[in-house]
């Protein structure tokens, strides 16, 4: 396994915390900050394309934060790793739950209801499933996978690649599987 010194010598990860935070906010931006341009662009295109496609398929409804017993959105744990979507979802959840606590108050989520949890009294969740059919589940899967992939990207921005450099080939000759160290 490559040592810490090797990483620092071969690959300048700059400020790892900032790089990880930037990647969490927008996939691939932490890599751009580190000067790993082509990799940053690849990560940005792949993860953003998956996330936006998923969001678009489900009419923007598949990403929301809700941890109520009646609507426990466990998929948000994966979606959370795309920070630029997670932050508005968490804010919306807090705003809507606060409004729900006051029965005199009408529920008005921010940003036109984007990333807001469904209104249980109006049966919005059931309506979304009726409106979007399997696209709702497919959109959820796409955004969930995009979030999980960004978790790998955050790790890569903070610690460098898991098997760094040209470890499994010396002068173009491939080593056998047993010889390749992590």
């Amino acid at each position: 396994m490559a040592s810490e010194e090797q990483y620092e010598f071969d690959l300048d990860l700059k400020n790892r915390g900032i790089a990880a935070l930037l990647t969490w906010l927008v996939p691939g931006v932490g890599h751009l900050y580190q000067g790993r341009i082509s990799k940053g662009i690849m990560i940005f295109v792949c993860i953003s394309a998956l996330f936006i496609t998923g969001l678009q398929m489900s009419g923007g409804k598949s990403v929301y934060c809700s941890f109520r017993k009646s609507d426990f959105r466990w998929q948000f744990i994966g979606q959370f790793f795309v920070g630029s979507a997670a932050i508005p979802a968490v804010v919306q959840n807090r705003v809507v739950r606060k409004q729900e606590a006051d029965p005199q108050r009408a529920i008005r989520p921010l940003f036109g209801g984007k990333f807001a949890p469904p209104n249980e009294f109006l049966g919005e969740r059931e309506q979304w499933h009726l409106d979007y059919h399997a696209y709702f589940q497919m959109g959820t899967l796409y955004t969930f996978v995009a979030g999980l992939l960004n978790m790998f990207a955050i790790f890569d921005a903070a610690c460098g690649p898991m098997a760094y450099g040209n470890e499994n080939s010396i002068n173009g000759e491939e080593k056998s599987g047993e010889e390749v160290a992590w």
């Binding site: 690959l11 082509s38 990560i43 394309a49 998956l50 059919h133 696209y135 990207a153 690649p161 760094y164």
Partner: protein
Amino acid sequence: MISFLSKLMFLGVGPEAMSGWEQVLYLIPLVVCTSLVYGGTRYEDWRQIRVEALKIGSWLLVLTACVFAVALLLSFFN
């Protein structure tokens, strides 16, 4: 890929769009993006990223095909 994804988004709305063989198309961007990003987080060199992405992509396809075969087999007994 972006153009393919935009086509995928507007393939149609309603259960009929997800009931035919077309639903297999939704697997392609998932496999491509997953294998590329996973390969990218393991290596820094593009040649190795490409090899790793191909390896992971093939594994994902084989795994999905196995799950599909098991599900298909089970459906015969139901």
